[in-house]
Symmetry: D2
Subunit: 363 residues, 4 copies
Amino acid sequence: MQTIGLAVIGAGYWGPNLVRNAQATPGLRLRYLCDLDADRARRVLGEYSTVRVSDSLDEVLADPEVHAVAIATPAKTHLPVAMAALEAGKHVLVEKPLAATHAEGAALVRAAEERGLTLMLDHTYCYTPAVAHLRELVHSGGIGSVQYLDSVRINLGLVQPDVDVLWDLAPHDLSIFLSILPEGVRPLAVAAHGSDPIGAGRACVAHLTIELTGGAMAHVHVNWLSPTKIRTMVIGGSQRTVVWDDLNPSQRLSVYDRGVDRAGAAELGEEKREQTIVSYRTGDMVAPALPEKEALRAVMAEFHAAITEGRPPLTDGRSGLRVLAILEAASASLAQGGAFLPILDSEDVAGSENAAAPEGALL
Amino acid sequence: MQTIGLAVIGAGYWGPNLVRNAQATPGLRLRYLCDLDADRARRVLGEYSTVRVSDSLDEVLADPEVHAVAIATPAKTHLPVAMAALEAGKHVLVEKPLAATHAEGAALVRAAEERGLTLMLDHTYCYTPAVAHLRELVHSGGIGSVQYLDSVRINLGLVQPDVDVLWDLAPHDLSIFLSILPEGVRPLAVAAHGSDPIGAGRACVAHLTIELTGGAMAHVHVNWLSPTKIRTMVIGGSQRTVVWDDLNPSQRLSVYDRGVDRAGAAELGEEKREQTIVSYRTGDMVAPALPEKEALRAVMAEFHAAITEGRPPLTDGRSGLRVLAILEAASASLAQGGAFLPILDSEDVAGSENAAAPEGALL
Amino acid sequence: MQTIGLAVIGAGYWGPNLVRNAQATPGLRLRYLCDLDADRARRVLGEYSTVRVSDSLDEVLADPEVHAVAIATPAKTHLPVAMAALEAGKHVLVEKPLAATHAEGAALVRAAEERGLTLMLDHTYCYTPAVAHLRELVHSGGIGSVQYLDSVRINLGLVQPDVDVLWDLAPHDLSIFLSILPEGVRPLAVAAHGSDPIGAGRACVAHLTIELTGGAMAHVHVNWLSPTKIRTMVIGGSQRTVVWDDLNPSQRLSVYDRGVDRAGAAELGEEKREQTIVSYRTGDMVAPALPEKEALRAVMAEFHAAITEGRPPLTDGRSGLRVLAILEAASASLAQGGAFLPILDSEDVAGSENAAAPEGALL
Amino acid sequence: MQTIGLAVIGAGYWGPNLVRNAQATPGLRLRYLCDLDADRARRVLGEYSTVRVSDSLDEVLADPEVHAVAIATPAKTHLPVAMAALEAGKHVLVEKPLAATHAEGAALVRAAEERGLTLMLDHTYCYTPAVAHLRELVHSGGIGSVQYLDSVRINLGLVQPDVDVLWDLAPHDLSIFLSILPEGVRPLAVAAHGSDPIGAGRACVAHLTIELTGGAMAHVHVNWLSPTKIRTMVIGGSQRTVVWDDLNPSQRLSVYDRGVDRAGAAELGEEKREQTIVSYRTGDMVAPALPEKEALRAVMAEFHAAITEGRPPLTDGRSGLRVLAILEAASASLAQGGAFLPILDSEDVAGSENAAAPEGALL
């Protein structure tokens, strides 16, 4: 197995998790933990570590034994840090969101693609056994056609100094949606409502409503002020509906063979529909056995595999760009009082020379 | 105790509950169960009852021993049935919603007020021990100022032939909100998003976002297509936050002494707010002991008390009108793609001669 | 359908449920509610009922239109009341336990069998959809061989004036065990531990351990002093294990394809067993869809069917006798400090002339 | 702060947790991870560690920089390993159970006391915030007098090669009981029932009933075969009852102001007790806010503090001996069919010259 030398950049909230999992991943060799505050980096590593500490990104990027970096710095620094890494020829794993704006994210995607380097998002949830199972269920047709999605991610959360609750939490839900939606179903428009009841200067509670190809609706509720912690997602399908409760380790997924049928509704004229017979199925519920494994370990393994196999990772830069497109449209909707706004098609933008223009129009 | 002779009109889904509870309420004397389908009414009463069956509303209203009626017929019939009862001098208890439109509801309120008759809404949830406790907590200042409300009412529900999920389920949430909100906090505007993924011809999943006086936001999620049943409401306050889980009989209310403080945020300039220190309280949680009693029994007792004491009931006609005002604005928002629309002030409308005009403008 | 005239005897705690369900059961015609306290009986029936009240058992039994009685009086009165009914030629449905002692119960079984009358126990739980499903699962071999049973029935319960917690609550668990155990597996011996920490004069907390044919163990925990209410039963099998949580209406039964295998253990000598490889299966969990219906309705239907079809009901007198045999042995074990004591074989006793002798020896 | 040099002995199931927490504890300096299988020890430390690996206990004990050892080897090796460490003048932290027999454990206690060395049990649960809170509640009189204890610890657990389920799991429950029981309340006798339905050669399901000073009863249910994981403990008191659900991180402790009173029961004659009025209190429930911290961190801190302060740790050798006394009596009861057997008073035994004799009599 090819050994990839790695540096972790950022020793704050998430960095220690990257350090721990990088050390446990075959094929990765952790060379540095880099932070402007070297003492903080030293505390993270502890007194028993052989990993080097550096407070200089330049030093780290200059080391030929560093082939890749994992970036866990604040979102607004992602562009300069990741760009420097790419320009130094390093592969990049970056925390969500990819960048502070879609334009910045597009610049990173282009830079990586031009150089043939791996640019991967640490959308950790996409690597959980639950999401892997969900994706397989949806893609295999096991739930039928997707009728609605509903995600709730609420908690007594840290009010972030630089982002609102939408940019802080919703990237999780959006990256999961994008990861499980079947081919051909994509977000078209988004409406957002939010409030700031504690005077924090930014939304602390927010609701996103997303219109998908085909008319299905996805909804996200994120909230920093809830005394109870809830992390559930429902994927309603025409054949089955799945409930994912991430805080119930003994039964994370519940697959209900239950639903509403409207036989023949499509063939009937509008005026007849009201009389159509609706039938209910109330079959069994199956909770599939899922392995318990740390998702971040799988993130690290995928990063290594994408680099050594020269293929795009499951959550590549473009997936991060798609999340940014939704977030930007949502922010614009929030500012405009909740109207539906179209979501940029990231496929076009990523390659365009002047990526910044379209979403500038949105804001 | 003064005996009030009662007739129940409508022997469908809810009528049997009215019959059972009316029979068990001191001071009420059930005289008739009235339904166009007399056989259905007979089946509801069973073979051992001395209560009379009638298929004629006229017959029932002509009986001087009938002082009041409880109406459990479809919403679109509320206007003619309730109006006939009021014109015959009977007090009226009516199922939610008060009527099919705000204008119709306003006509009923005026008719009752002109005649000095009791017009009461069967907003059953408002009479549960949980809501009574919530109301007391909020009104006494026990939770501080209201920061947000969030209600989820989802289930595999019957697709109604005549109303969408909003008109079917949201009256519960809205009447509860109105019942517990403190003096001076009222709904100002509403935005609604909905979808009909099964082709039922009406929204089966819907989200309401309501702006309240003072900037707090209330949100309602109603859904006929969910395989799991959830009925929770969160009332977030500056001092405490309450979670009501109506499906957890052993712990319906959980009062959290937990929250986020932003000391001094109000006094700081906008640019300073980001640096303000946010502090978290994580105190104990208290689940108050609540009596287990059937709410509909309390509805019946309140109906009797309001009639004999000549006072407005807790959920009078105007409370029903306020619910209709929100529903109409929500329907209009749904039709217009989710923009915020203002909510009629029911106090003015109820007394105006031409009530129909304003909300016509909305649609 | 043949109409069976019925009288309910006893208007206390359970009687109203019998009255309500008898009235709703096709083929049953409720003639009387009989109680020494006629006012109490009148209050149970309410002001709208055509059912007669009587305070005389003789009067009721003398009425030729009464073909059957349902007895909900205290356990110590079951012998005289039920015997009088049987001697008057009436079929009998009796609350659990069948009688105050095994000898009394045996006398009732003999009396009913001699006269060809139906004697049925109201072991309500045995008629729930959950137990019906459990029985089918176990009898069909779906869980493999039964390895252990564990039942917990705890609550803040009424301290009964005449019985301890064992006699009050354990009849439920024991009748369910007997109802679901496969042919050939029966209780052989029982040990009981109990305590009376509040000085009530009788055990308020008790644990039963029952040895079954084949070496499996059943355990019952009953408790009047628990602030939380738990009603769970686990049936561990070699192939599957079922957990029944009666307080979780959305998922009463959970069937786990999960367990421990010991391949080849049987063929190995004792000294080798420790090295045998134990393998774990962690397959999916299935929660079967169950209808929601009131079990007491099914009790009434079975009573009617057994009478009119001339066949033994599912929970016949002998099933009540088997429960008494376990309870008597458990009480004796309790008195003797928890040693295992053999359980009478009710099949022999029921037919013997002098049934009282054997269990007298136990006490 | 005085630095204590530490060696962890045993790199199996629990050793890695000791390594991780020792490294994070101020004042502890991890010198060695020692295991007969040096490769296993190397894998535990990983590729980035400066901690030394050794496969020689002698080498480790000869190092003057090692002042203390933490032992995580199989129970039957505790005597030789811990004794060697004590004889080398090292302080000892040992996994539960203290030793394979009470006699062996007593020998270790004597050896440590004679040398003035710290001998501490890693009864991890005793260091959780939940148990600390429970202990304070009980000792402060907050729950009144203890009426009953009930612990359930069931799971699909590894069938251990050398111990039965009682010795594997019950030490947790017993050490917690001993840690929270008030002064003067101690276990007097124990009865045990067990079964081995899978032919494992040892009990896989077991129930312990323990009689306490004052008549209260404690019960423990341990089970390796349960498909569901339950870890709950109920401490019933005359004033309040506490339920601890260790698998519910958002509400581990629930303190119920709920119970049964029997006013005056004590003063009444036996024959009058049945008529005494029993009253129920159904007050609020309080779930105290508890910090989330890793208990093993607190174990390490206590080990360091006990050594440097020269005081007995919270879970000293004698606490481990008390657990062994109950386990040995329970095993004897299991072998004898479940009769109650007295529990050795560990205070006497620990100091006696010939500790082995008494419990030999039990077996």
